[in-house]
Structure formats: C-alpha cells, structure tokens
Subunit: 356 residues, 4 copies
C-alpha cells in the first residue's frame, strides 16, 4: 500500500512494528477517552469556505517565534526514536530540515542533542524535562543553546507519568536503550534518573530561571486552561503549547482543539499559541489555525512514518500533509496562512438521531 | 429488485457499474465527513405537519427564475454522463423534458451543449467552469445562450479539485473520453485544458462580465456562507446555489442543508436560493423548501438512475421523488409549493443516550 | 419465553406471525426515522423521583372525559384485528373491559362496531375516518352513539396513506378480509371505499358537524403542533391526541413525546391531551403524564399481544404495564395519577462522546 | 489476568461467579438506561488540569462527618456479601480497616452488625432499612450505636423493589441464606420480614426519631433532586448521599453524577454530600469531588473484588483505585483533596457527527 493519508501510516506501522512498541505509541491513559477525543473533536468543527478568492498562489510559510518555517506544522518531541528506526532523531532532523520545518527534540532522545543538531540544517527547539537536580537541567539547556536550538519547550504536564494500561496490563516494558543526552549513565542510574527527570515540584517561578540560564525563548507545553495560559504569559513565556500529551497523561481532559479557544482568548495575543494532539489532516491544521493557533505539531504520525520508512517515510508523511494543507487553503479561500481566521470555522451540530 | 427509493438506485448502480467508476460517483473528499453529513443533516430536522388542510389537489409546479417547472427539483450538473450510460446527457435531457424539470448541463458534458439542447424540449441551464483564457469562456457562454440555455450556473467552489482519496489510494483514473464542448482537443491538449478550465483567479468582478457576454441570468453555485451570499447578491447574481459540491471538494464543511438558513437570511429575498447535496427523499425536498430554498437539485441519484436504466431509469427515479413529494405535501398540509414555510420545520433533538 | 416486558411480546409475535403481516404491524413510513424516534425520545427524558412519600397505597385510576378508567392507558385504534387473531376486536374488548380500560375501536375494524360493543362491558370510543359521502359518515357516528361509544376520535393525519416501503418494496399486500362496519360491500366496492374513507378535503369546519350528528365529545387524533392544538380547542374539541400515527404517515416528524410539551402549552387546560406512539414501559407512561398528558394509548403492543395470545395475551400485556406503572409511581413518589407533574421530568443530556 | 482496573474485576467476577448471582450484581432496573448512564455520564465531564503545582506530596486523606479516612472513597452497603465470598462482610471490614476507609454495612448483611464490627478496626456506618414495626428498627439502630457504628445511612429510595428483569425473565431467585441481623427468623418469617423492612410509609418526620433513638448522625441515601436535598437538610440530615441505587430502582432517572450539581447547590454547604453509582476510576472520584461531593462510595466493584479474591481482592481493588486517585491528583494539580474544586471540571461536548 502506498500511503495516501497520515492514517495510512498508522496501518503500515502496525504491520512493521512489534505489538508492544506499536501499542506503546498508539495507546493513551485510562479508558483512552481523551485519546479518542483528540481526533473526534476535530470532526465536530466545521470549516466555512469562501469562494472567488484568488488562490493561484498559495503560501504556507510562516514564522514561529520569528523563525521562518515552510508551513505551520512542526515535529513534536517524542522519546527515543531509535526504537522506531535505527536512524532515530537524526532521520527526523534530516526530513524536517529538507521540508523546512521545525523539529522539537526530546530530552529523552536516543541520540544526543548535539548529534541531532549535527544532522539538522533547519530550525529546532529543545523539549525539556526538568531534573530535580537543577545543575543537570542547567547543563542540558546550556548544551541546547550551544547546539543552536532556538527555544526551550518546557513540558509542564508530566510531574508523574500517566497510567497507560496497555503496558500495566500486559506487563510490557520497553527495553529503552540509551538516552543520548545522558551518556554517563554509568554514574547516574537509569531509574533514579527517570524519576528525577520529572520534578514534581516544578513551579511557575522556575520559568524565569530556565529563561535566564538558557538565554532562549520559552514555550510552555501542556496547557489546557485559560488560568494556566494567563500564568504562562505573566511568567514570560513566549509560546504556549496546548496539549494533553497525546491523551497519555490524564484521561478525561478536553481534546486539545476543544481547549484551544479558551487558551487563545486568555493569551490575548501576548504569546504565540500552538497545539498538538489529533492532527491527521490538512483540514485539522486549518481548524486549529482558524481557532487561533499559530502552528500545530505532529507526534504519532511522525513515529509511524519513521517506523515505516525512516527519513524517507517522514518526508512522505510531511509531503502528504503539505499537499492537503495547500489544497485546503485553496478550497477555504485563504491563500496565505495569515488569512485563516475565526470566521473560517464554526461548531458543528450534534450527531443526528439514528434511524432504525 | 424494483427500486422503491432513490437509495435503491445506489444499490442497483453498485451492481451494474465497475467498482472504479462507482467509487468515483459515490465518493467524497478526505474522510468523507461532509459527504456523510449531507445526508445525516436532513435527519436532524423535524417537519411540523398541519392537519385538516384541503389537500385533494396538490400542485408541485413552481418557477425558477421565471421559468415554469413541474416540481422544485432539478437535475444537477455532473460531468461526462456517457461514462454512466451510452446515451449520456441526452438521456437525462429527454427524461427531464418529459418530467417538465430543469436540467443543468455541465461544461464537462460528454456531449456538446448543442447536442444536449437538441435532445431537450424543456428548461435547461448551463453550468460554467471558467477558462483562464476568457475567450474560451466567452465562446462557451455565447454558444449556451444561442442553444437556448436559460441561465449560467457558475461553479465557484472548484479553483482546484478536492482530494478524493478513493482515487488517490487505488491509483484509479477514469478514462474520461471526450469532452463534447471541446471537440477541437487536437488543438488544445487535454490536461492543460482541464487545469485551465478551473481558473484559480476567478473573482467577484468576473461575474458582471459573464452576465454581459452571456446576456443570461447568473446563478452562483458553491456558496456556504452568509458572507459570500451577500457578495453574490451585491454582484448581481439572480440565484445562489448552496452546495458543497456533494462533499467532493473541501471535507469538514457544513452539510448544505445546515448552511442553507444563513444563506437564506443573508440573501433576504434578493435572489432565489437553491440547494444540492444529500437529497434522497421527498421529505428532504420539503425540509429544504421550509428552510427557504426555492428548489433543490439531485446529482448522485441522477447518475445512479442513468447507469441503471438510461432515460427510463432517470424517469423512474424522478417519478419516485415526485410521488414522495406529493405524498409529503399532502401529509404536511401544504398543497402548493408556496405553502411550505419556516413554520413547517424545526431542529430535532440530539441523539438519545444509549442504554447498555 | 414468558413475556416480562412489552418488547417481549414483539419478539413473540415475530415468531407466531407471518413476515408480511408482522412487517405491516412493526413498519413505518420512509426511512422509519420517526418510528425509531418515538421510542428513542422517551429515553432522552429523565424522571425526577421524590423520596419519603407515603406510597403504601397507589391509585392508578383516573377519568377520561369524565369516564372512570383503571389507569391512564388506553387501547389505541388499529385496523382489522382479526388479521392478528380470530377473535379480533372482541378479544381486545373483553380484555379492556376486564382491565377497566378504555378501548378505541377503529372505523376499519374487522367486526362491526355493534359486535365489539356487545363484547365490551367497559368504556369505549369510536375512531372515525370521514367518508367523502358525508351520509356514510353520519350513519357511522349515529351507530357509534347508539352502540354506547362515549366519544368520537377523529383521525386528522390520514388524508392519504403514508409510504410504508416494506410493502412497496416487497409487493406485499394484505388480504384485508372484511370491514365489519361496511357489511354491504356488495354495494360499495372495496378500493373506492378505502379511498373515499379518507376525505382529503376534511376541514376544521367539519368538526362542528361531527359533534352535532354524533352528539358525542370529540377527540382530534394526529396533532403534532401548537398551531393545530389551538385550532382544535377553538373548534370545540374535548380532547387532543398527540400522535404521528405510529410513525406510519409522514416520516421525519417529531416523536410524539417531543411534540407533547408544545401541544400541552397551547391547549392550556382547555381540553384533555393524550399521546400515542412509543409507549412500551410504565416509565414511558409517567414521562407522558409528567409532560402534561392525561393518558396514553398503546397500539403495536396491543397487536403483538393479541397475535400472541388473544384476549389472554392482551390481558397479560396490560397487566405488565400496570405492574410497571404501579412500581414506577411508588418509586417516583407519586401515589396518585394527579400527583405526577412537570417537576417529575427533565430533559436528559446528549449522548456521551465515545472512547475508542 | 492480573486486574489493572476496576472493570477487570467485573470480567474476573464473571468467570468465577455463577450466571445468576453475577446477573443479580451487575443488572439494573427496566431497560437499564440509568445503569448505563451512571457510567456514561462520567465520560461526559471533562477535567481541567492545572500545571506547575507542587505535587511531590499528595494527601488523599479527608474526613467524613469528622471521622478521618484515608481517601474520599468508601465501601457502599450491599446486601448479604456471603453470597459473593464465604468471608462476606467481615472480609470487607478487614480490607476497609486496613485501607483506612469507611465501610457502610447493610441492614441486610449476611453477618450480624456486631460480627462485622468485631472484624473492623476502622470507621463504619450502618445502612438502615426501616421496619414497619418501629421497635424492630429501634433495636437495630441501638445495636448499631452500641457496636460503634458512627452514623446511620437511611435508604430512602426503596419503598418497594425496582423491577430487575434479568430475574423476572429467568425466574432466577437467589437462595438468600440468613440475615445476620435477624437471627431469630424462627420467630419472624422471612418474606414478611423482607416486605416489612421496606416501610412504604416512611416519612420525613421519621428522620428526627431515627436521630433520637440512635443518637448518631444521619445520612440520607437515594436523593436525586434539589427538592429532596433541601428537605433532607431541613430535617436535620448531616449527609446526603446522591444515589439511584445503582440503577436498580427506577429506570430513566438521571445518572447520579448528573444529579449531583443540583443537590450540591440545594444543600449549600449545610450538610456533606456524597455520591454512589458508576465509580470505576480515579478520575470519576475527581469528577465527583470537583462537582461538590465530599466522598464517593463503590458498590459493584466491591462485590466483584470480594467474589474474585475475598479480603485480598477488595484490598487489591482499593489499591488500584487509590493509585489512580493519587496519579489523578498529581496530574490534575490538586495535591490535597480540598484543592479539587468546581474550576477543575467542565461539561464535555456532544458526540461528534459520524463520518461514513
């Protein structure tokens, strides 16, 4: 099968991956209500297309914190990508660079952030888990700044791991392999590092310190409420990433696209707002833009494409998404990214009554 | 099976058509959300029937831009109907004429517009795709006017084709055969013509030119928003056809019947409003009329009936729809088309909670 | 299987009846949206039970137009009940009398209205279809009055038959057998009588004439709108029966219980309001009462029970419904029928989002 | 299978229990609409998590009527637990005590309330069915007070049993075995006792008497409306337990979590409000707390766990729920029970339209 959609990559990945890792990628927390909602919620919104607009030239380019990118779609941070493909994060780096897109590299990458940077010729940000020992964190963000990462994406929704029961139930545990950013695991034991990496005391006041030691713009990832969006802005965040961690942390929270409007309203233009969770279609991207996101990030489709075809797979996946986005912008009557606005979207109606 | 409903024609067409062409006819863009919604949305509306009205005599006749028709149901333009039946558009022309109904003939008809006109003794309009070379377009509309077409139906929602993945996925491509309106394809190559036929720079200001060179009333097809409906009226359109191109262009836009009320309100009686998309039942027609449409158009049922039985099939399909409409008018207590109004329809309630 | 619910009778009837007649009984018009909604709509309402009410003594008795009945549930008129059981309407008459319930006998009964009256010792009303020849109608209502029927139930929603496609599709046609009220069908041909029985010119002004020639109270059956409810009251109706003819006439109209509130509000206590359509449970009866109905009528369950067990079957079905109603009144905290009011019901919430 | 969720215990119980008793435990009244709604309704609410809160220390402890408990989850009263496991209520007592949780013991326990008390070292309340002979009731509550039960939980929604048709249909009847609190059944016959235990004349004015003769705080169980909640407070109740008896009494009443907000508002802080019905997840507990419950009670999961593993099974089930609750509190950003408030919950959106 030649993949024609991002969902096709999921099917293909299910064929090439072992059930355990595949379940790890696709699964979510609890009853997976939020996982399902991330997709279903996009189907609830309706696009409002305008006609007789000149769409002969479509321009998908935009900027993220001032950095030019080829389209308002970035690569979300996901852990240890060598589990998906031997080329790991470097394959993603090459694909993202070739496509002119932003890659966000995980603290828990298989390769070191420097190795990923070496493979990348495009924009990249560094996703941060904060260690209880702040010197560990300080060294990480200093290395990221030195390696040309353009911003820190601080994950806020992971004081502890969510309960993903596919793993609990099956007793499945990934052989995680190495963590590229912590080569000296001879000195630091693995499990304590894992626990220490998610500081349960991380606080709003830490944000200023991270900005200072990194010298980089700061994006807060994992915001789902207006309250936290306001606090993020007040604590100097340059970006707010609306996310429920792909439905992998707390089940029953809102779909990210359903949380987007209240965050956008609370931020009030004082920071850029992004979204991840459930993006599979060009029309999903347009829906998020219309609701006020500046860009979206793709996580699972990236993993599937990487597993299916390495760098080429990721390129192919991004190409499909770009084709869909271009087509969608033409049919929505919005030839430039900035044309997409709140008048291009409206809530859909509840599902119809069922006949017999 | 003797077809008793329009849906029966779909089943029968699925038996007589090859999977590729059948998929082409029934399919939609993307996840086919809008395709499904076009049908489902009608099921959300509830008719409000009045009793003890004299319905001994039912009159389905009405006028469209002043032209008398036997019922407020027309034949939507669909491309190259010889793919469905050797008699193509001429079979539809004969059936429509016999039934006293309006046929809208596609720019991309198998037969030339003159040949279709010759087969027709009833009212007919000409659907227009605008060529980048305006002289090609001018010649088309002049020919249409000369051949007795009573209006131009300008398609506004097709700057580019939507992504219909049944075709992308299967690598299926129709052997399109000839385009009756472009017999000199020796001089014009096929694919460039196809591309050129959908001018991505088509603009509101082109409408006045089309009206002038055709000397005919103008209907704008593909409007889904109040904003565009107002612009259509301001640019002199005589009719506005609420349509999402049968769910074949941009997925996730509203069902046409859900977009109808805002268009009707925006037009405010300054033009006639029509609808296509999802019409399968007499009660669908009544719902659209109650929401303010002057008439509706049927696309896929026409294709299925043509494939199943040629002219006789189309006649049979139209007969069923007329019988359902008459029955519905009697049971709704609206013996004349003009009797159907906003008090005859109300939104239904969301679907019930499910028991175990 | 010993039936424990009214639905059980449907299952049992499906075993003992031939598919054709069974389909005739259970089927509805068009896509059977309204048929399904009649049931589903009850599931949308939520009862609000009160506790610590003295329910040691429960009294289900009430009156209908002044006539005492054992519970607010009557037997709806359904045609030619000998098709279901050799004892036909007389079996129902005996069961209804024994249960102290009101039977509404159809104009199109298998047995003559006099024969049914002879089998009945309880309250009975006569359902009327109005013949185009008013002398036929006048004779019918005079006979009904003479035979002790206590009211005329005029069917208003049947100017023509709805389109029930199970029959259209299968070419199934019931052998209707005789019409007890028209024994001289030697002189009147069958099909013309059928057509003439449903006068498509029946008007509001006919109501006064029916009241005069019958000398009986008048109930209008088939009302679904506030507008018609007001007209019914203004034209002197004593009762209004909210009904969509069991989903057998116009598809896509509201479930009868969803139409009930607007009718109750429009009537404003000036007439009694009843409901049929979808009653299968004691809690359905309570929901209708809470929304303002004085009583409800059961159609299909009566037919199934008659087919399954004749008089005994109908008795058993009514016994189950009475047991459910008594239990429901105790648990709702409403020991008398008049205790049930608007505070005992509230709309439910839309169905939940689905998890994966 | 090692159970990872409370639902897993249902599956396991289905394997170890005979179909009759299992059906008795899992079944509900009527069409089981309310039974299903108790679960589905939780899925309709969305949690609103806050980030960057110090959750290094989570404290699930709270108090119920002043009594400290380890978490805001108690063991609901369910009848004759020896049917589930030979150790019956004493197994639950030991598990609850070990977990520091409140056990509510049923009037209809297999073991006497004194025997259960002897097995318990933790907080316990006594659930009361009121006998028609008030001296029987007085002796029961005096014994409960003497045996150290800390409150009376008066069941208000059981004037008669609901109709649970699994039993009606199958003719299934439990061999109930003995009632520990009525050892002298030699003198009192069984069925009359059962009937007499549910006084259908129980009234608000009885509450004061129960409080007086027991000398204990009073919780009213089975309240679903604001009206009854206000009456409960006015009649001196210390707690109100929002419950529909697990969907086993009147079908079509609201899910308990959907009734919770109106009860909380009506009580207005004048009493503690609890909930049972549909609790299967830590996020269910959090949803109820956010909507104003002080604690929740688990019924069926307790039964399943008891059947599957006796005391150890109940311990395991409570451990899972505690782990989920702790995880949920960390991810919700509410390290103490009192932190959870109305801003942590919002209604979800209706289910999405379905694509084809």
């Amino acid at each position: 099968m030649t993949p024609a959609t991002l969902d096709d990559f999921e099917r293909l990945a299910g064929e090439v991956m072992a059930p355990g890792p595949f379940g790890y990628v696709v699964g979510g927390a609890g009853d997976e209500v939020t996982l399902g909602e991330n997709r279903a919620a996009f189907h609830r919104w309706r696009l409002r297309p305008r006609v007789l607009v000149d769409v002969a030239t479509v321009e998908t380019a935009t900027t993220l914190l001032g950095t030019p990118v080829a389209m308002p779609v970035g690569l979300a941070p996901t852990a240890r990508q060598r589990l998906l493909h031997p080329d790991g994060e470097q394959a993603v780096a090459r694909a993202a660079s070739a496509a002119g897109l932003l890659q966000v590299v995980s603290t828990m990458s298989s390769d070191s952030l420097e190795a990923v940077a070496a493979a990348s010729s495009g924009p990249r940000w560094f996703q941060l888990y904060v260690h209880k020992d702040r010197t560990v964190t300080q060294r990480l963000v200093e290395r990221a700044a030195a390696a040309g990462y353009g911003a820190i994406v601080l994950t806020a929704d992971f004081p502890v791991s969510g309960r993903r029961e596919r793993e609990l139930r099956d007793g499945f545990a990934l052989d995680w392999g190495g963590l590229g950013n912590f080569p000296d695991l001879g000195g630091v034991e693995f499990l304590p590092l894992m626990t220490a990496l998610h500081d349960q005391r991380l606080a709003w006041t830490d944000l200023e310190w991270i900005r200072r030691v990194s010298g980089l713009p700061l994006v807060l990832k994992g915001v789902l409420t207006a309250e936290d969006a306001r606090l993020a802005v007040e604590h100097g965040c340059d970006g707010v990433l609306v996310s429920n961690h792909g439905g992998r942390q707390l089940d029953r929270v809102a779909a990210s696209v359903d949380a987007l409007p209240e965050v956008v309203a609370a931020v009030g233009g004082r920071a850029e707002v992004y979204l991840d969770g459930g993006i599979r279609r060009g029309v999903d991207v347009l829906t998020a833009l219309a609701l006020g996101a500046r860009a979206v990030f793709v996580g699972r489709p990236q993993c599937w494409a990487l597993a299916v075809g390495g760098e080429a797979g990721v390129m192919q996946m991004l190409g499909i998404l770009r084709d869909e986005l271009v087509n969608g912008m033409q049919l929505l009557g919005t030839p430039r990214v900035a044309d997409v606005g709140p008048a291009h979207v409206a809530p859909g109606l509840p599902s119809a009554v069922s006949s017999r």
